[in-house]
C-alpha cells in the first residue's frame, strides 16, 4: 500500500493504517524531539503529541508537499512550543541528570572525576544547543540528528538552501563560541 493510500485509509478512520504510518516515522520524530528536549521521557511525550496532532489534522493535508515534510513541520512546531513552555523545568532536570549519570554510569574504566567531567560537559553542550535561536536550532537538529540534506531542510523550513547553509554555519560558530572556553580546553 502506498503512502497516499494509507493516508486515505486514515482519513476514513482506519487506525491500523495510522499505526503503519506511525511505525515508519516514529523513530524520526523521536530523534528530532530528543534534539530539542534531550530527555527520553519528554521526547516520548512529544512523539505522542505530534502523532495525535497528525491524526486529527490529516484531513487538512493537501499533498502539495511530501508527507514527511509536513510531519517534520508539525514536529518542529510542537517541539519549539514545548521547549519554550518548559524551559525552567528542563534546566532543573538537566542538573539532576548530571548527578544521576555521574554516579550511575556503568563504565568501570572511568574514574568518578572523569564521569563528572563528561556529565558537566554534556550539560554545557545541551545548554549551548538550547541557547541557539529557533531557526538555527531547527536547521542544526535536522542536519545533525536527522542527517537530512540541505534541500529537504529548506523545504521543511520554507526557505532557500543558501539560507539553510548560512543558518548551519552560524549555529556552528555560536556553539564554538559558547563552548570554546568551557569544553574545548
Amino acid at each position: 500500500m502506498t503512502e497516499e493510500q494509507l493516508i486515505q485509509e486514515i482519513v476514513c478512520g482506519n487506525t491500523l493504517a495510522f499505526k503503519m504510518i506511525m511505525e515508519k516515522y516514529q523513530d524520526r520524530v523521536f530523534c528530532v524531539a530528543m534534539g530539542f528536549v534531550h530527555s527520553k521521557e519528554d521526547a516520548e511525550d512529544l512523539t505522542q503529541e505530534v502523532f495525535i496532532k497528525v491524526y486529527l489534522s490529516l484531513s487538512t493535508f493537501n499533498h502539495k508537499s511530501k508527507f514527511s515534510t509536513w510531519l517534520y513541520r508539525i514536529t518542529i512546531n510542537t517541539c519549539i512550543n514545548f521547549a519554550n513552555r518548559n524551559r525552567k523545568r528542563r534546566l532543573l532536570q538537566s542538573l539532576e541528570d548530571v548527578w544521576y549519570s555521574a554516579f550511575n554510569q556503568r563504565d568501570e574504566e572511568q574514574t568518578p572525576l572523569e564521569k563528572m567531567e563528561i556529565s558537566e560537559r554534556n550539560l554545557l553542550i545541551k545548554k549551548a544547543i538550547d541557547s541557539l535561536s529557533d531557526r538555527q536550532r531547527v536547521a542544526f537538529i535536522l542536519s545533525k540528528y536527522e542527517e537530512l540534506p540541505q534541500k529537504e531542510i529548506a523545504a521543511i523550513m520554507d526557505t532557500t538552501e543558501g539560507a539553510v547553509e548560512q543558518l548551519l554555519q552560524r549555529a556552528k560558530n555560536n556553539l564554538q563560541k559558547k563552548l570554546k572556553r568551557s569544553v574545548g580546553n
Partner: protein, 105 residues
Amino acid sequence: MSNSIKTQMRTENYIDDFIRREKQTEPNPFLSTHIIAEIEKMQQAEIKKVTWWQIVVFVACIVIMIFLGISVGNSYINHISQEITMNINDNEIENLGYYSLNNYE
C-alpha cells in the same frame, strides 16, 4: 596545527559524540500501541459527548409529550356521555357483602 584549531576540533568532537549518544536512545517499543490506545480513547469520548442539538431534541420531545398529555386528557373529559353514567350501578359492581363475611360465617 595551531591551538585554536585543535580546540575547535576537540569541541566539534565532543558535540558529535554527544549527538551520537542521544541518537542511540531508543523510544519505548510500545509507544505506537500506546498512541493508538490514546487516539481510540479520544474517539470514544467524542462519541459519548452530548451535542447541543441532542439536548434541543430531548427538550422538544418532553414539551410535545406534555402537550399531547394535556390535550388527550381534555378530549377524554369532553366526551363523557351522561347516559352511560346513568346505567352504572355501583352496588352491582362492588358488593361490599363479600368483604364483610357476614353471609359465610
